[in-house]
């Protein structure tokens, strides 16, 4: 440290132990008395810079959800382009919890991944709330009891999201025709430089490839060529089929017969919402798989319902 001064001890602690031996870090009383007179003048604080005011000071009362998004979309609170961010953003909206959104990157996150919530400024800098604490945050904010932990049956169905995730990762990150979309999603928001963009995009693809290989128990060095694509997409199709069947069994139209769409619905919507929005073209496999699942467009109808529930205002604006 540049400065070797001890911080002035809190006044309350000083009389409490007057007999204790003065340590190196306690300031002698006369010096403390002198210090208390300084500074002689305290003026009002300096206002924050423009960029900070625009990006972080739009509201004194609302928390901010940091998500992958473009700055224009985030300003309007539009859906994120990242499955996990979209999941939590959708769930918060389903619970009618008000929040702002801010475009961000993993570097901003306390856990290294998005999303996270940042409560409004108080006298000190707020501590971020990681997504793992969102269910507790939602139950606090809505005065509802904490949702019960997932049952073993729910856990089993939760694992069906993995093949869907791998197929999604492969499509977006490792399929060349989707490279412009990947760039639009994750690169354009942070840099306009071609060189830096290319470096960041190759880092993203490498990380996605490593994640897919790891989940398939393949050697990380074997490269994306080692992935059995037919099998990858077949498993995704099978998972979507099972999810559609599960949904058909539900009397309420939401997963596990819930009255209101819950975390599981939001989690699946994170993928299905993005697939239907960006990958529902004739040549895209994933859009077709979602449409075919259940044979009767079960998932598409469910997707439409969530969209109305959570994103109704944007749907109407688009019309």
């Amino acid at each position: 440290m540049a400065s070797a001064t001890a911080p002035p001890p809190k006044p309350a602690t000083r009389p409490a132990n007057p007999s204790s031996a003065p340590s190196l870090w306690t300031i002698p009383a006369p010096l403390q008395k002198l210090f208390n007179h300084f500074p002689l003048v305290t003026l009002k604080s300096n206002p924050l810079p423009a960029r900070s005011q625009i990006l972080t000071s739009a509201s004194d009362t609302l928390p901010t959800l940091y998500i992958f998004s473009s700055s224009a979309d985030a300003l309007q609170g539009k859906p994120s382009i990242n499955p996990t961010c979209l999941k939590w953003q959708t769930l918060l909206r389903l619970h009618h919890i008000p929040f702002l959104t801010s475009p961000s990157s993993n570097h901003a996150s306390p856990t290294g991944s998005l999303p996270f919530l940042l409560p409004p400024r108080t006298t000190t800098s707020p501590h971020p709330i990681p997504s793992s604490s969102f269910p507790a945050y939602i139950s606090r904010s809505t005065n509802n009891p904490h949702p019960p932990p997932p049952t073993p049956r729910e856990e089993a169905y939760l694992s069906l999201l993995t093949p869907l995730r791998l197929a999604y990762l492969h499509t977006l990150y490792l399929t060349p025709p989707y490279s412009p979309l990947l760039k639009k999603f994750y690169i354009s928001s942070s840099t306009t430089s071609f060189l830096l963009g290319t470096i960041l995009q190759s880092q993203l693809s490498t990380a996605a490839s490593a994640a897919v290989l790891q989940d398939l128990n393949l050697h990380p060095q074997s490269g994306p060529g080692a992935i059995d694509l037919d099998n990858l997409y077949a498993e995704a199709a099978e998972a979507l089929q099972s999810l559609a069947t599960l949904l058909q069994e539900s009397p309420t139209g939401w997963f596990f017969g819930r009255e209101r769409p819950g975390e599981f619905d939001a989690g699946l919507y994170g993928y299905v919402g993005l697939i239907m929005e960006y990958m529902d073209t004739p040549e895209a496999k994933l859009g077709g798989l979602v449409r075919q699942a259940g044979g009767e467009g079960v998932l598409v109808r469910w997707w439409g319902r969530i969209r109305r529930e959570a994103w109704g205002e944007f749907e109407q604006r688009e019309k």
Partner: protein
């Protein structure tokens, strides 16, 4: 590189006698004997250089050839001829590839068949000792509020043309890791003009703003020494900056700026140092300016601004009655620094909207080697505990240096009384306009008004000021200070430092 440009002794003809004795022992020893003959006509017949075994012939020709073949050689006097040899030798020493105490000269009369009695022809034999071509060092450093360990390799005169390749790796408490490679070469055989290519990768902790910054980049620099002994550098820079590893309680401002950005800039710096001793100035003045233009026109990148910083400092000795012309060692010094960052539109269209500055481009002010009596970055806008910087600043300091009674004026120790202060303000804009997807875009008119009002803010109320007393030790490479300071005027959120503060630096305010 600044040092190698600045340390060469004067080459102006009228300053021949200022050449330091240890640099040219043979020449100065001879000069006493030769004093009476300086006006006799003499020309140089040959020059031999011994000991420059690894230096390219063309580099030496560039320096010595004109001495023998130049038109003035035919008409010169002995004094002029010796001065020309002296100037060439000093030029040679500025390449920094020969040992300073290794220069020697031997002069003899040439045996020339066409010699006429009215002109003496000289054979000049110079000897030099080359500095070691490869220097590997490793060590630890404590300075500028951090401790570090480093390894450094310098390949001097690597291609025989006084090129220097320097490779450096270090790990420290604040600069967690840094790797740099620097290749520099004199241009056109002139030691006063150097071209340097740098590559850098570093990780630096910035606890005053709760983050780490990773830099990866390169630069091309051309430096030269002007006739007035001022150093100019023009540079072209490209840096990938990554703000990452945020502290749990990092402020929203820092969180909003986390991530990647590319800065491409061109810049110019100018230093005119006329102080008697940069570490402990007793007289003279310094003028320094740094200008940078980023993101404009073909530069591209993610940030665009014009940034300029001016610094001026000076000192005057105070005579003490009764010392009869001897230096008293008492001096008063003062320094002023101002800076401004002006956001610009990216590309060529200056009328297009500009983007307000980010934390890693804004100025910081305060710290033991800056505005004393404040924590590092202690002045200016703060978000919670984080110093977030500002777009315009002005700072000034005045200090009285007193010698320590029994050590006297020649000792590098001084007692210092100082008062310093400053203002750091940011461009304001509260409006959020989401049109055309450009959330942060600010119209040029608003940028101008914002900068204008930020400059106005510098004069709004008293500056933030601290004063104190301390001990200064001027080591040849850095200045150490131990100060007791108290903040006098503060703004809410600014972080003053009450009590002792240690400052280490090469350019203190």
């Amino acid at each position: 590189m600044g040092a190698s440009l600045g340390s060469g002794s004067s080459s102006a003809a009228s300053n021949a006698n200022t050449a330091t004795a240890n640099q040219h022992p043979a020449y100065s020893a001879n000069s006493n004997m030769l004093d009476g003959h300086l006006l006799t006509p003499a020309s140089i017949d040959t020059i031999e250089l011994h000991g420059a075994n690894n230096v390219r012939r063309s580099l030496l020709d560039g320096i010595f050839k004109s001495l023998v073949e130049g038109p003035e050689n035919a008409t010169s006097t002995l004094g002029e001829a010796l001065e020309r040899v002296g100037a060439a030798t000093r030029k040679l020493s500025r390449f920094d590839i020969f040992k300073e105490d290794g220069f020697g000269a031997f002069i003899s009369e040439a045996d020339r068949p066409d010699a006429t009695p009215d002109r003496t022809w000289l054979n000049i034999a110079l000897s030099v000792k080359e500095k070691s071509r490869l220097v590997l060092t490793a060590g630890t450093d404590v300075g500028n509020a951090e401790g570090s360990a480093y390894t450094n390799g310098v390949f001097r005169n690597i291609f025989g043309g006084a090129e220097t390749l320097s490779i450096n790796a270090s790990a420290g408490t604040r600069t967690r890791s840094a790797y740099s490679v620097n290749l520099s070469t004199p241009v056109n055989g002139n030691p006063d003009v150097r071209l340097a290519l740098d590559a850098l990768r570093s990780t630096t902790q910035k606890p005053w703003a709760s983050h780490e910054e990773h830099l990866t980049g390169g630069s091309l620099k051309l430096s030269w020494l002007s006739d007035s002994k001022a150093t100019h550098t023009v540079m072209c820079n490209g840096v990938w900056r990554q703000l990452t590893a945020l502290a749990p309680n990092a402020s929203p401002t820092v969180r909003a700026d986390a991530g990647d950005s590319l800065k491409c800039s061109i810049g110019h710096s100018y230093t005119l140092d006329r102080r008697d001793n940069p570490m402990l100035p007793q007289s003279g003045y310094l003028f320094k300016s740094i200008s940078e233009l980023a993101g404009w026109g073909p530069l591209n990148g993610d940030v665009a601004f014009a940034k300029t910083e001016l610094e001026s400092a000076g000192a005057v000795p105070i005579p003490f009655p009764g010392l009869q012309g001897k230096k008293s060692g008492i001096s008063i010094g003062a320094g002023v620094r101002v800076g401004m960052l002006y956001p610009l539109a990216k590309g060529y269209n200056l009328a297009a909207p500009a983007y307000p500055s980010r934390i890693n481009d804004r100025f910081q002010l305060g710290g033991p080697s800056d505005v004393r009596g404040f924590k590092v970055g202690g002045l200016g806008p703060h978000d919670g505990a984080d110093t977030v910087g500002g777009d315009v600043f002005a700072a000034g300091s005045i200090n009285l240096l007193l010698p320590i009674p029994r050590l006297g004026a020649e000792s590098p120790l001084r007692i210092q009384l100082f008062a310093n202060g400053g203002r750091l303000a940011a461009l304001q804009d509260k409006s959020v306009n989401g049109e055309n997807g450009q959330v942060l875009a600010t119209e040029p008119k608003k940028v101008f008004d914002g900068v204008k009002s930020a400059i106005g803010e510098l004069g709004n109320g008293l500056p933030s000021v601290a004063g104190g007393v301390g001990l200064v030790y001027a080591h040849p490479v850095a200045r150490f200070e131990l100060n007791f300071s108290l903040p006098l005027v503060l703004r809410r959120g600014e972080e003053g430092r009450k009590g002792l503060q240690v400052g280490v630096g090469v350019s203190l305010l």
